[in-house]
């Protein structure tokens, strides 16, 4: 179990247009995207840029987080700040992008929290230490475990390629 503070609370259907607005899509390199994380949520974006949000802080949201565009900047921007996302559910492409880039996602149906709450995040359960409520964690797709364990899709694919060339 790790304990972490909730720094932002959002509702259902948060689209990648909200996480990383389309007008910054010309910026592609993962090292350059974090400055535009939640760019239209001015106050929160300013905090992120000022370094006022510690790594490991949590964003809590409802169902279907990351819906819409497949833009991977929406993941690299959050990963750059080492945020963790606890949400009721995730949209498919966002979920896969997050696993591929090593962004920490926790699917906890029904989760609720307020800004400033402390969460204890475990493998099977999220406990809101402030409200006392507990939420079961739904595990990420089993098929993707190997990628998570490899530390992301780049090292995973690298391993597969090396395995292939060794087999030749």
């Amino acid at each position: 179990m790790s304990a972490a503070s909730v720094v932002l609370v959002l509702g259902d259907d948060v689209s990648t247009d909200v996480i990383y607005p389309g007008r910054y899509m010309a910026t592609v390199l993962p090292a350059e995207t974090p400055q535009y994380a939640f760019a239209d949520l001015g106050v929160f974006n300013a905090k992120l840029k000022a370094g006022a949000v510690p790594a490991g802080s949590v964003v809590v949201a409802g169902k279907n987080f990351g819906c819409g565009s497949s833009r991977e900047q929406a993941v690299s921007a959050l990963k750059g700040h080492e945020l963790a996302i606890v949400a009721g559910s995730f949209a498919r492409i966002f979920l896969q992008n997050a696993i591929n880039l090593g962004l920490r996602l926790i699917e906890a149906p029904g989760v609720t929290a307020a800004e400033g709450d402390e969460l204890a995040i475990g493998v099977t359960e999220v406990v809101n230490l402030t409200s006392g409520r507990r939420y079961a964690v739904r595990s990420l797709p089993a098929a993707r475990q190997a990628i998570i364990e490899a530390g992301g899709l780049i090292p995973y694919t690298r391993k597969r390629l090396l395995g292939r060339s060794a087999a030749r």
Partner: protein, 431 residues
């Protein structure tokens, strides 16, 4: 147990005689598409090879397509430089399915792939764009991936660890009433399923209304399958698919439709009868916030947008031109039209649609994504309202989080252009 279309495609592509829902497979990819985000794919592709001692090598340049569409012509030095880098990569690697910024063979990726004959029934198509679902209209299994996943596919030639998705059968029956079209059907369906109603599922379309629908209409349907969260939409290929591929897409080789088994197992069936369907509209700020147009009729509109990969094809422009010919766009609104491809632009010129639209006061822009994603042209002012035939109305989607976007069909958009307020096209022109 019988298989759905997607199960059959995944079985073939992963060298198995059958697959069941939940099986993990690694399907060979027939076509891998990117647009300007190829800049990121190239970066990630090169990162895969770092420290391996191996030369970065594309698995098959002939199966890679790159189409510039999101920001054409480039809106900034940054984009232009990204595009320049991609051109360099394309040249070095001999990627022939490359569509640069051109009036003849350029356009939006989801139109270029079908009209160029790149997508065949039964194919596995991946694209670094969520609306890659569009290509299911030709009976292919087509889904969106992120840039890093595409880089992995460029290296390996197959997608890794794909779970065989469950399929929802969507039965669309009845005859579409006048002024009601495929866009109304898919808006209605997204409203019914909800924005996450089909997550990790495939929507397989059946029914007499689908059989009677053109490939253009099927592209509209499958395009927006992702707005219900679906991995993909698919229309099993039929005579119309073969007609389109031979007559419009110039495919010379034999086309083999893949159809589901009679006893295919669907997770559930959703029935939609379109005979009494009214024109639909998705209200701000989610695509599943759908109502009949009549419920919001009369609301002032600042900007009408017709185009995109959803509704920027010739039949869409024909509907708009038919309504606007000899009339004027209301002085209280402005109208932007952007065809889905250069080819469609030319066809619309030859058919006189462009002249009809321009004379009415519309601005006809170049083929590309244009105002759809709000980075390039056609931005909205604070508090302004847009009515658009595109596919997304999320806060900020058209570039300004302080604006409202409504989504509708070309008929609703054109009828509303004449009045300057949201208008039911069945009422338009009546006293």
């Amino acid at each position: 147990m019988g298989m759905t279309v997607v199960q059959k495609i995944l079985a073939r592509a992963s060298g198995r005689s059958e697959v069941a829902v939940g099986d993990v497979v690694e399907p060979a990819v027939d076509l891998a598409m990117s647009h300007e985000n190829a800049a990121l794919v190239i970066n990630q592709f090169q990162a895969i090879y770092e420290g391996t001692g191996l030369e970065p090598t594309l698995w098959d340049a002939a199966r890679i397509a790159i189409v510039f569409d999101h920001r054409v012509p480039a809106e900034s030095p940054k984009t232009a430089t990204n595009q320049k880098r991609i051109r360099g990569f394309v040249g070095i690697n001999g990627i022939a399915k490359f569509h640069d910024i051109r009036g003849d063979r350029g356009g939006i990726c989801h139109q270029i792939l079908p009209e160029s004959g790149y997508v065949l029934p039964g194919a596995v198509v991946v694209g670094t764009d969520s609306h890659t679902t569009s290509h299911g209209a030709l009976g292919a299994f087509a889904f969106g991936v992120g840039a890093t996943e595409m880089a992995s596919i460029w290296a390996l030639g197959h997608a890794v660890n794909v779970e065989v998705p469950a399929t929802i059968k969507v039965n669309v029956s009845g005859v579409l009433p006048p002024m009601v079209g495929p866009k109304d059907v898919i808006l209605h369906l997204v409203g019914k399923l909800g924005a996450a109603g089909a997550t990790f599922r495939v929507l397989e379309f059946h029914g007499d209304a689908i059989r009677a629908m053109s490939t253009s209409g099927r592209l509209t349907l499958c395009n927006m399958a992702v707005e219900a969260g679906a991995t993909s939409g698919i229309v099993p290929a039929d005579a119309e698919t073969i007609r389109y591929l031979k007559e419009e897409a110039g495919v010379l080789e034999a086309v083999h439709p893949v159809v589901p088994d009679r006893d295919a197992a669907y997770e559930r069936t959703v029935d939609v009868d379109v005979s009494a369907l009214a024109p639909q509209i998705a209200c701000p700020h989610t695509v599943d916030n759908v109502r009949p147009v009549s419920e919001v009729a009369g609301r002032h509109v600042d900007q009408i947008v017709i185009g995109s990969c959803t509704n920027g094809r010739l039949d869409d422009l024909a509907v708009a031109a038919g309504i606007l010919k000899g009339r004027k766009v209301a002085s209280t609104t402005r109208m932007l039209v952007f065809p889905a491809s250069g080819r469609i632009y030319q066809q619309a010129l030859e058919a006189g649609y462009v002249a009809d639209l321009v004379r009415a006061g519309a601005v006809v822009m170049n083929a590309g994504c244009g105002p759809c994603l709000g980075v390039h042209e056609g931005a909205l002012g604070d508090g302004e309202v847009a009515l658009s035939t595109t596919n997304r109305n999320f806060k900020g989607r058209m570039g300004n989080p302080a604006s409202d976007v409504y989504l509708c069909s070309p008929a609703v958009a054109a009828a509303s252009a004449v009045t300057g307020v949201i208008t039911d096209p069945r009422q338009e022109g009546k006293p």
